[in-house]
């Protein structure tokens, strides 16, 4: 290979010759890790069944480390392509979903239930568009904001705050806008004869869920093709057709549109004499152009797959379908939904648990949050102390913090006014978009396509479209800012 990448030099002044423990950043990292270990042991001593919750904590920690290691930001996958023409993150995601899908297929062959296919409909594209528009202004997607918070970025913490409350308010509120929904949704929602306390016909989101979403169908590729052989269904239909084939095609398209020209220039190759071999090494150069990102993609794919497997084993062991049953057994009934369930996806997910945090705070402040389907019937409003997926999000923050400290990349960053406003408004859009599309870039895309549900590609499509419009607007904003000041062009 030619010598095309520059040199990395570490000029941090901390005394490298002093012992590992004497360096303060290492000490902080070790302290965080130790607190998580102590907390885990303490929880297990109280009741061994907390292991179910701790699985989320430790997988969250691993996700956080990989996200930080590869600066694995899905917002930049969309944004960097349009804004600056860099396919680094898009390639990393394709690696991640391919590996995830292979392991998820193995888990399915092993007889475990993985994910429920998402209902297929227009809401995915519309919600994803709003979400994709929002992430340009917040500077990070749902998972990206978590790991950036772990790096000490307080602007990203504001994004999480905004996502939490915007979702909680969005799914629970009702008012004049209830009248905007089609009458057919209201009729369909009324016909479902849901329990009175949910007041299903009040509240935009309730009518949307009961009158629209529940009438839609979703299916994995194996279901659609009606394959019965579990090996063929999982590996060929779900993994290969839905994930690996489209991901490979996307990698080729990225190479042709974003990487080939520069690669030929650097290698001094003429297109007319380029052979298949040259193109293949070009694709390899693109995949390895950011090794950290590629490694993170591998790690996230493998761990996300293992997560599904471990949760499946635990559910089998305890004979449960949902963590709510375990919580009820342990005497924690207050946060459960009317079906005694809580949000418990069993795989990598981001946004719903954040909505529960927001709802819990609002409930403490005296706002009724249970008269809706989202919290009241399905996900519950558990206290953050017993919210298992919530601990996965906290785990991501802590995992990222540990690695950032060890790599001397941790830094408290206070947002400027402009960044703070973008974070709050963008986070609000992300929250609303994620609820309409029934998930974020992880729950509705990464975990969805990897488990053989093609609806995730619709989410990506919407997110890319929203990101495209967002980048155009952001560039206009920069130009306007530039015109305001002479000394500062941007």
């Amino acid at each position: 290979m030619n010598n095309e990448s520059g040199v990395y030099v570490d000029l941090t002044t901390e005394n490298k010759s002093s012992s590992w423990w004497a360096q303060s950043a290492n000490r902080y990292a070790a302290t965080i890790l130790m607190l998580v270990v102590i907390g885990s042991v303490w929880a297990l001593l109280i009741d061994s069944r907390w292991i179910y919750l701790l699985v989320y904590v430790w997988f969250g920690l691993a996700y956080g480390m990989f996200l930080q290691y590869g600066r694995f930001c899905m917002a930049s996958a969309v944004r960097d392509l349009f804004a600056v023409g860099v396919p680094r993150m898009a390639v990393g995601i394709m690696i991640g979903i391919s590996l995830y899908s292979l392991i998820a297929a193995a888990v399915k062959v092993g007889g475990f239930h993985t994910v429920n296919p998402h209902p297929l409909g227009w809401h995915i594209i519309i919600g994803a568009f709003i979400f994709g528009f929002g992430i340009i202004f917040t500077g990070g997607c749902a998972s990206g904001s978590l790991y950036k918070t772990g790096e000490g970025n307080m602007g990203s913490a504001l994004v999480i705050l905004s996502i939490s409350f915007s979702q909680a308010i969005f799914v629970a509120m009702s008012g004049w806008f209830d009248k905007l929904v089609p009458a057919s949704w209201v009729a369909s929602a009324t016909a479902k004869a849901m329990p009175e306390e949910l007041s299903v016909t009040q509240g935009w989101f309730d009518i949307f869920t009961a009158g629209y979403i529940w009438d839609l169908k979703g299916a994995t590729a194996a279901d659609m093709l009606d394959v019965s052989n579990p090996l063929v269904a999982s590996f060929l239909a779900d993994s290969f057709l839905v994930t690996i084939l489209p991901a490979s095609l996307i990698v080729v398209v990225l190479y042709v549109y974003y990487f080939r020209k520069g690669y030929m220039r650097r290698q001094k190759l003429q297109r007319s004499v380029m052979r298949m071999r040259d193109h293949l090494s070009g694709i390899w150069a693109m995949i390895t152009s950011s090794k950290n990102t590629a490694i993170a993609g591998i790690g996230l794919g493998v761990f996300a797959g293992l997560h599904v497997w471990v949760t499946g084993l635990l559910r089998e062991h305890y004979g449960i379908f949902n963590f709510g049953e375990l919580l009820a057994d342990m005497g924690h009934k207050t946060g459960l939904s009317i079906q005694d369930t809580v949000f418990d996806p069993g795989y990598w997910y981001i946004t719903t648990q954040e909505a529960q945090w927001g709802a819990w705070v609002m409930e403490k402040a005296g706002v009724g949050m249970r008269d809706n389907i989202f919290f009241g019937l399905e996900n519950g409003v558990p206290s953050p102390l017993i919210n298992a997926p919530g601990f996965m999000s906290i785990g991501i923050i802590l995992g990222a913090a540990i690695l950032a400290l060890l790599r001397r990349e941790f830094k408290w960053k206070r947002p400027s006014m402009e960044t703070a406003i973008f974070a709050l408004v963008g986070g609000c859009l992300m929250g609303i978009g994620a609820r309409i599309a029934l998930g974020c870039n992880i729950g509705a895309y990464f975990a969805t396509v990897s488990n053989g549900d093609p609806s995730g590609w619709l989410f990506l499509l919407g997110m890319v479209a929203g990101g495209y419009v967002g980048v155009k607007l952001f560039n206009l904003w920069l130009s306007w800012r530039a015109s305001q000041f002479d000394d500062c062009p941007l």
Partner: protein, 110 residues
């Protein structure tokens, strides 16, 4: 309304997201090579995608052989810049990790 606009302007002026300096100055890289930096963009505190977009704008503004110094404390930006250099007909010279963040040097090649 006028007051509100004035307040808004003051608010924006209170802190620049990015400070750009077009003074030419020599910078010695750690291995002893001295490069002539023509543009410096201080993006301390700025989050993605701002530093990347600014790098693009700066490179457009530069002549062949000019060197850009980008100062950033945003790890994601640091990861993206070498890949960005590849598509922007420029060469990534060095990334220096300092206590406060990173200094990245790019030379425009075409």
């Amino acid at each position: 309304m006028k007051q509100l606009v004035a307040l808004w302007r003051k608010w924006l002026q209170r802190r620049h997201e990015v400070i750009v300096d077009r003074k030419r100055r020599p910078v010695e890289l750690p291995w002893g090579e001295v490069v002539q930096v023509s543009h410096t963009a201080d993006c301390m505190g700025a989050a993605c995608p701002r530093p990347q977009l600014i790098t693009m704008r700066m490179l457009e503004d530069m002549q062949k052989g000019d060197v850009l110094e980008l100062v950033s404390d945003n790890p994601t930006t640091v990861e993206t810049i070498p890949a960005l250099a590849m598509v922007l007909s420029s060469r990534h010279l060095a990334t220096l990790h300092t206590d406060s963040g990173w200094r990245i040097y790019l030379r425009k090649e075409e």
